[in-house]
């Protein structure tokens, strides 16, 4: 049942709204049409009734006057009965000049407020062109009966009209359901189901007609729209394919580039290592003269610069190629700190500096922290190498402490030195690329000016921050602070 109703569109809101609107309009129209119809009927009947009054003068006045004149009272009764037989005539009274009186109907009840009243003077024409009043006829018209009839008629007519309107509305619902709603639903389903895979054109199941109506126009518009959309989708699809291909090519190029960088890095470093080793051997050879020793030592320094320049360039290229992979692993920072200290000693030895390297690891550090050990090591060793490079006397200190950052545990690693310090005006630019505190330094110490930029980028990549610490303490002139964030281990390895 419900399915049937649904099939004919009874469940669709459009149909229902249409029906409700039709019912309201139908009801109003029924009232109006019924009123008009019955109003017309009432006026017609009233006119008819009034006409009866008018005709009395033409048709009855003369015979009645004759009957009274001739004292034919039977005839008077007949005529008055005939007059009173009209249902609209409520009261008739005839008073003759001779004192007789006839009445029909009840003057108090029905004719007290007559709708119409005529008083006729019955005049008998004498031969000598004179006339004599024989009586007065008073006829009162009441339309109460007409009104009652019309009123009774109103309800039947109104209900009939209403029923007609309702039947028409329901018929309209079926018709709308058949002719419009089902097509609209089909259009909606079609549009819903249209996608890249389902490209059937929209066709409605309608009786053929030469003339195009609104539905045909909608179907055509949807067809054209789908055609256009499909073309655009195809174009877009091709573009996506092209882009993906370009992206894959770019990624491949990038991977080739970082592969190349890694290979180059290894391939260049290996012979350079050998060169540096041999230069060292020459410089430390026991039987060598002073001049070749100085040459070898100078060549050693030059090759160190070359090495660091190359390492920095490769690192920066890797950062720019997005080829830096950050691996956060649980790390024993105590052991790592010892490694840093050890390699710092190595650097000190390499740079032949007579300074103290100190390591200060807080006792309350967690046993394992989450960090990218190799990149942190790279940053720390760069900072330590810088510190050693710029410090000729005194000490370089590596300090590791617990800290908090926004309420979360963090680790602060400070690399401090007692060297020249960084001039105030250079502090802001120290992490920019190709920057050294002053250009004289470049000549004095070499370096690409990339080291701190790399450190800062690496720190950023692993969610850490590298800053120049303004809180100079304990006689240190330069303090770098590397703050490692998100160091807490979510799961402690068992």
């Amino acid at each position: 049942m419900i399915a049937t109703l649904r099939a004919i569109g009874f469940d669709n809101r459009l149909g229902l709204r249409l029906v409700i609107a039709s019912l309201i309009v139908g009801s109003v129209l029924s009232v109006l049409s019924t009123s008009a119809q019955l109003g017309a009927s009432y006026f017609r009947q009233r006119t008819d009734a009034t006409l009866v009054l008018s005709r009395i003068e033409d048709t009855l006045a003369s015979p009645l006057e004759q009957a009274v004149w001739t004292f034919n009272f039977d005839q008077v009764d007949v005529i008055l009965d005939g007059l009173a037989a009209d249902p609209n005539i409520a009261f008739v009274e005839l008073q003759s000049s001779t004192g007789q009186s006839w009445t029909r109907g009840d003057p108090d009840e029905q004719a007290a407020t007559p709708d119409d009243q005529r008083v006729y003077e019955l005049v008998h024409k004498l031969d000598n062109n004179r006339s004599e009043l024989v009586g007065v006829l008073d006829v009162r018209l009441s339309l109460d009966a007409v009104r009652a009839r019309v009123w009774a008629e109103f309800w039947t007519t109104f209900l009939t009209n209403l029923a007609k309107a309702y039947i028409a509305a329901i018929a309209l619902l079926f018709l709308v359901g058949h002719m419009v709603s089902r097509h609209l639903r089909k259009i909606a389903d079609h549009v819903d189901n249209t996608n890249a895979d389902n490209t059937n054109a929209l066709r409605l199941d309608r009786a053929g007609s030469e003339k195009t109506d609104d539905l045909d126009r909608i179907v055509d518009a949807i067809d054209r729209f789908e055609c256009r959309t499909r073309e655009q989708m195809d174009a877009l699809g091709n573009e996506i394919i092209d882009r993906k291909q370009a992206e894959a090519e770019a990624r491949q190029a990038l991977s080739i580039r970082s592969q190349f960088l890694a290979t180059m890095s290894h391939e260049i470093r290996t012979p350079l290592n050998a060169i540096m080793g041999f230069l060292h051997l020459i410089a430390t050879y026991k039987d060598i003269d002073d001049k070749p020793r100085v040459y070898a030592e100078t060549a050693t320094k030059a090759s160190h610069q070359l090495m660091s320049l190359m390492n920095n360039s490769l690192d920066m290229s890797r950062i720019e190629a997005d080829a830096v992979e950050i691996k956060m692993t649980p790390t024993d920072i105590h052991s790592l700190a010892k490694d840093w200290h050890q390699s710092a000693e190595g650097m000190r030895h390499m740079r032949d500096k007579n300074i103290k390297i100190t390591l200060d690891v807080a006792r309350d550090l967690p046993p394992l922290i989450n960090m990218d050990a190799s990149h942190v090591t790279q940053i720390v060793s760069n900072l330590v190498d810088n510190a050693i490079k710029f410090t000729d006397a005194g000490e370089v200190d590596i300090a590791i402490k617990n800290a908090t950052s926004d309420g979360n545990p963090a680790i602060d690693i400070r690399v401090s030195d007692t060297g020249n310090g960084i001039p105030e005006d250079a502090r802001a630019r120290i992490f920019e690329r190709f920057t050294q505190a002053d250009s004289g330094m470049l000549r004095a110490h070499g370096g690409s000016g990339l080291g701190l930029a790399i450190c800062s980028e690496l720190a950023r990549l692993m969610g850490a921050t590298l800053t120049l610490d303004d809180r100079i303490r304990d006689g240190f002139t330069t303090v770098f602070l590397l703050r490692l964030e998100n160091v807490a281990l979510v799961d402690l390895p068992t």
């Binding site: 470093r269 290996t270 290592n273 060169i275 080793g277 041999f278 790592l336 190595g346 190799s374």
Partner: protein, 128 residues
């Protein structure tokens, strides 16, 4: 100082090998060389107990330092399976004691190797 044990240097680059051999022998320590992990393992098997220290390059053709360490620790006859192995690498990923310990090595030294570091390693492992 006299040294009881030899050093096994496993390094694929000829220049580096020669350079390191010169440095080590300059310290008065006997050095044997291998150009990849596989050769290194064979030398260890042939002369059990002779070596006090293995200097292991990590990136090598035929057999990498990591694979060679795994093989030495698991397959080579005792006592060479317990021989100290130090990773010699420029790769900062391995400049991490815990990391190399996980791979079965006793420590690491970064490239370029400084003679001072080599000396302290040899003192530590090859002394009488």
């Amino acid at each position: 100082m006299t040294y009881m044990h030899k050093v096994l240097l496993i390094e694929d680059d000829e220049f580096t090998r020669f350079m390191m051999r010169e440095i080590i022998s300059g310290l008065g320590v006997e050095v044997e060389i291998a150009s990849n992990g596989d050769e290194g393992c064979k030398l260890l098997e042939k002369q059990p107990g002779e070596f006090g220290l293995v200097l292991m390059d990590l990136h090598m053709p035929v057999m990498s330092g990591i694979d060679a360490t795994l093989k030495i620790r698991n397959e080579v006859q005792d006592p060479p399976s317990k021989v100290p192995i130090i990773a010699v690498t420029a790769d900062v990923t391995y400049h991490n004691s815990s990391r190399v310990a996980e791979l079965g090595m006793n420590g690491f030294t970064p490239k370029p190797v400084s003679p001072g570091t080599l000396l302290s390693l040899i003192d530590q492992y090859c002394a009488a």
